[in-house]
């Protein structure tokens, strides 16, 4: 149906410019085309369109094939090499047997809790390996502590109180200023509470004391 519409459009297209002149000059008749040439033209058009569609289909098929191959390749890469699998299957069948029922329920709660944890807190990192087969024991499965919501609630509550009491809009000042103003307004005027901040130049003072010790020691050794 699409093809028919396209043909109609294509047929309408040459008709339209042919129709245009009748709009400008109404008395001229449309161009004469013989049936054979028209048929040949239509055939050519049909073939072109068919070719295009076929090429399009081929392209899609090619893409699909390539994707399938990619998946097959990935699946093959994911599994261990054939030789290793056979060796494991053959060598300790007893150990694999008793471990697999233990591994299966083990895997399940971890898998379920992994989903839960990821659902609740997406940023958490889980380190355990899901997998029924084990290599010689060169890993550690760690179940990290659950970060439950009470900690977050408490933090929100504390932040609320802090912002209400000490946030912007509350008229807070430092303890130093508060008591210093009281000292200045007193009957007997006193110095500010932290007149000298002890942390000023702390590094310099430490270096100075070290240097003095070193200099004195040198003097002593020189004189001796």
């Amino acid at each position: 149906m699409v093809r028919r519409r396209r043909r109609q459009e294509k047929e309408a297209a040459p008709v339209a410019p042919a129709a245009a002149p009748p709009s400008s000059e109404d008395d001229e008749a449309p161009e004469e085309l013989s049936f054979g040439t028209a048929r040949a033209e239509a055939e050519a058009e049909r073939k072109l369109v068919g070719e295009a569609a076929r090429r399009h289909r081929e392209l899609l098929k090619e893409k699909r094939r390539r994707r399938q191959e990619l998946f097959a390749e990935q699946k093959r890469r994911k599994l261990l090499p054939e030789a290793l699998l056979q060796e494991l299957a053959a060598a300790p069948p007893a150990r694999a047997d008793e471990r697999s029922p233990a591994a299966a329920p083990d895997k399940r709660p971890q898998g379920v809790s992994a989903k839960q944890n990821e659902g609740r807190i997406p940023g958490q990192v889980k380190k355990d390996k899901a997998g029924g087969t084990r290599s010689k024991g060169n890993y550690i499965a760690v179940h990290l502590k659950d970060e439950n919501l009470t900690g977050l609630h408490q933090q929100t509550a504390k932040d609320f109180i802090h912002s209400q009491l000490y946030g912007p809009g509350t008229n807070r000042t430092s303890a130093n200023e508060f008591f210093s103003i009281a000292n200045k307004k007193d009957l007997v005027k006193k110095a500010a509470v932290q007149f000298v901040d002890k942390s000023w130049g702390l590094e310099k003072k430490q270096r100075a004391t070290k240097f003095t010790k070193y200099w004195v020691a040198r003097k002593v050794t020189n004189t001796l």
Binding site: H153, Q154, N171, T173, F178, I181, V193
Partner: protein, 684 residues
């Protein structure tokens, strides 16, 4: 008296935590106080405001007679006041709990949670609480709660609104918007910090704009509004008769409102703001209205008790303002022979060696130090619990401390100038919990005060071990824990005081109970056994002093003389209890006592002052001639240099020529407090 070299120690960096909430028990006249670091203290008003019990824990906000606490951790904890620890905790399941209120009978407990729900719990007589039901839940955290005295309705304050809930049906009966009366330009969210429900149907709320508003809950209308300060009004308390309320603000001021008739003798009454007080420098987060006094506790770690003049019956020292900042317990232990001091903080211990000087000088001179005091060791305690008690042995080689659930013992080796610490393994489990620790004077034994009035005696073995020798128990059992211990210098006697105020003396040679001191009506604040005469010196919280002879099992003659003549009026009117008693090894009749503001040497051989004599006469005596001095000399020699700005935490006699005093200047504490609200003063 003699000359002493005084080591004035000011490097104990104690900053007490702010007071977060209080609960008052009317019958027993006790006040329970919770601090911002989670410690709970109980003050006994009948025993002259003595701080009885302390326990450490986490951040909370609380209530109760059986004491309940609830905090931002989301669970309701009941405290066992005999064993001084949290007994059981029930999860509220509503997120952090912001407020808790008990109804008048004490049968139900309502909690307001972070998620906006109000939950009711039944108080189970045997112990603990049980969930009853959930009341109507609305969006917005419930910051404060108050029961109607009849127990039928609850008022809950949130952000921007107050609602009144019907307890029986659980529905919201009325919802009042609090933020409507502020002009649009200044509209911020209005946090209702505290609320009270009167039996007349008036709901009183205090909010973050500094307003105290009176609402009629049935109609939902505002009856009266007072703007009390420009910063938030944080706490509210109503008296029992409902004619007076006290409001605490963020600026440290407290105001009293009273219901007074408009015209004298008229019927119509209105709430009028009557008295402003400025006792605190920081936020007042908890207030309590007792029948005779207003009690406020602030973030500057002060507890202020202001008696109301019109309610005070007799004119006495009862009518004076009392301020408590420093705890009434001993936080410093002294190792006399090794000259070490152990400071107990809430989460760690510090061991310092005292400095020394090799100069001498005259009275009042400051001598230069040849060796500075050294900070030898800092021991951090693991876990969130506070360190309850600690001690260091006189030779300085053993340190023991205890939290509410664990006991630790360390062996300290001094090698020249450096020290090494090793934990002693294998401490017997039955020693938990320890309420007081004391090392014997020969450093061979450790006495551990435990619950039910029992004291464990543990032998300290040399290379680093301990062995439990015996457990001493009082003859008639008691449920309270022992909180004070004293041992004699020869190692034969041990005195123990338990929470029911009984003093028991045990013989350590035979490990049995020797005698009991006759009961007195007050709590014991300090006791000590004299090294040579084996007399037990006891000081009580009403400032009485007694001397009991252990070998003779009766009060000494001096003690009877003191009781007959009575102590000086000024001595009895001191408001802080004596926390430590020490003896002069050279002079058997001299006793060193100290409380927060003074140091006193009591000479038993001198006559006692009567009420007409001047009690503090040391400065006058210095100027008098020898015969005049002999006439005016009396037994109490008091040094009051510590009164202004530098309270005394600990004082002890190291040997016959050396005194050590640990002071805590109030300015140092103030400099480390959280930021206060700025007070705009004219000209600054």
């Amino acid at each position: 008296m003699g000359e002493f070299e005084v080591h004035r120690v000011r490097f104990f960096g104690l900053v007490p935590a702010g007071v977060r909430c209080m609960a008052y028990q009317h019958n027993g006249r006790r006040l329970a106080l919770a601090r911002t670091d989670g410690a709970v203290e109980v003050y006994n008003f009948a025993a002259n405001y003595y701080m009885e019990k302390v326990s450490g824990g986490r951040e909370r906000g609380g209530q109760g007679w059986r004491l309940f606490g609830a905090g931002l951790s989301g669970d309701i904890t009941e405290y066992d006041l005999e064993r001084l620890r949290p007994a059981r905790a029930v999860d509220g399941f509503g997120g952090p709990i912001w407020s808790m209120a008990a109804n008048n009978d004490g049968t139900r407990l309502a909690i307001g949670c972070e998620d906006g729900s109000v939950k009711l719990f039944q108080v189970v007589p045997g112990g603990g609480v049980q969930f009853e039901k959930n009341l109507d839940r609305q969006k917005g955290r419930v910051l404060c709660l108050s029961w109607h005295p009849s127990g039928t309705h609850l008022a809950a304050g949130s952000i921007d609104f107050i609602r009144v809930l019907d307890v029986h049906s659980g529905r919201t009966a009325q919802r009042i918007m609090v933020n409507c009366h502020v002009p649009k330009s200044k509209k911020r969210e209005c946090v209702v910090w505290s609320i009270a429900f009167l039996s007349s149907g008036t709901v009183i709320s205090s909010d973050s704009f500094g307003r105290v508003q009176f609402w009629d809950w049935e109609r939902g209308t505002l009856q009266d509004s007072h703007t009390v300060s420009s910063s938030a009004a944080l706490s509210l308390a109503v008296s029992e008769k409902e004619d007076s309320i006290v409001v605490g603000t963020s600026a440290g001021a407290t105001y009293q409102f009273q219901l007074l008739p408009v015209k004298a003798g008229g019927q119509e009454k209105r709430w009028v703001r009557t008295k402003p007080f400025q006792h605190h420098t920081h936020d007042v987060r908890a207030v309590v209205h007792t029948p005779t006094a207003l009690i406020s506790g602030g973030l500057d770690a002060q507890l202020v008790i202001r008696p109301l003049m019109e309610k005070v019956q007799k004119k006495g020292y009862d009518a004076a303002l009392r301020k408590f900042t420093l705890p009434h317990r001993r936080l410093v232990s002294c190792a006399r022979k090794a000259r070490l001091l152990l400071f107990q903080f809430s989460q760690h211990l510090e061991l310092w060696r005292l400095g020394s000087t090799n100069k001498t000088g005259k009275d009042g001179e400051t001598l230069p130090l040849s060796r500075m005091p050294e900070h030898l060791l800092q021991l951090k305690s693991k876990g969130p619990e506070h360190i309850y008690c600690s001690c260091v042995s006189p030779c300085g080689s053993w340190i023991a401390y205890s939290t509410a659930s664990r006991f630790h013992l360390y062996r300290v080796q001094h090698e020249g100038d450096s020290i090494s610490v090793k934990k002693v393994p294998g401490v017997p489990k039955l020693l938990l919990p320890a309420y007081q620790l004391l090392c014997a004077s020969d450093s061979g034994r450790l006495f551990i005060a435990s619950d039910r009035g029992s004291v464990h005696v543990v032998q300290l073995l040399e290379p680093g071990g301990c062995k439990h020798l015996h457990t001493l128990r009082p003859p008639a059992g008691t449920r309270e824990a022992v909180y004070l211990l004293a041992s004699s210098a020869d190692g034969n006697w041990l005195a123990a005081v338990s929470g029911d105020w009984e003093v028991h003396v045990y013989s350590l040679k035979h490990f049995k109970h020797h005698c009991t001191v006759p009961t007195y009506s007050c709590a014991v604040t300090a006791l000590a056994i004299h090294p040579t005469t084996n007399n037990l010196f006891i000081s009580y919280s009403d400032q009485q002093l007694f001397e009991f002879s252990i070998p003779e099992k009766q009060y000494t003659a001096w003690s009877r003389a003191v009781q007959n003549s009575g102590l000086h009026k000024l001595w009895l009117e001191r408001d802080s209890p004596i926390t430590h008693i020490a003896f002069n090894p050279k002079n058997t009749s001299q006793v060193l006592l100290h409380d927060v503001y003074m140091l006193c040497v009591l000479d038993k051989s001198l006559p006692l002052p009567d009420d007409s004599a001047v009690l503090v006469n040391q400065s006058t005596l210095k100027q008098l001639s020898e015969p005049a001095r002999r006439r005016q000399l009396h037994a109490f020699k008091i040094c009051k240099k510590f009164q202004v700005g530098s309270p005394l935490l600990f004082a002890d006699l190291l040997d016959e020529r050396c005194l050590v005093t640990v002071e805590r200047p109030a300015l140092d504490i103030s400099a480390q407090l959280p930021p206060p609200v700025q007070q705009k003063k004219f000209g600054t």
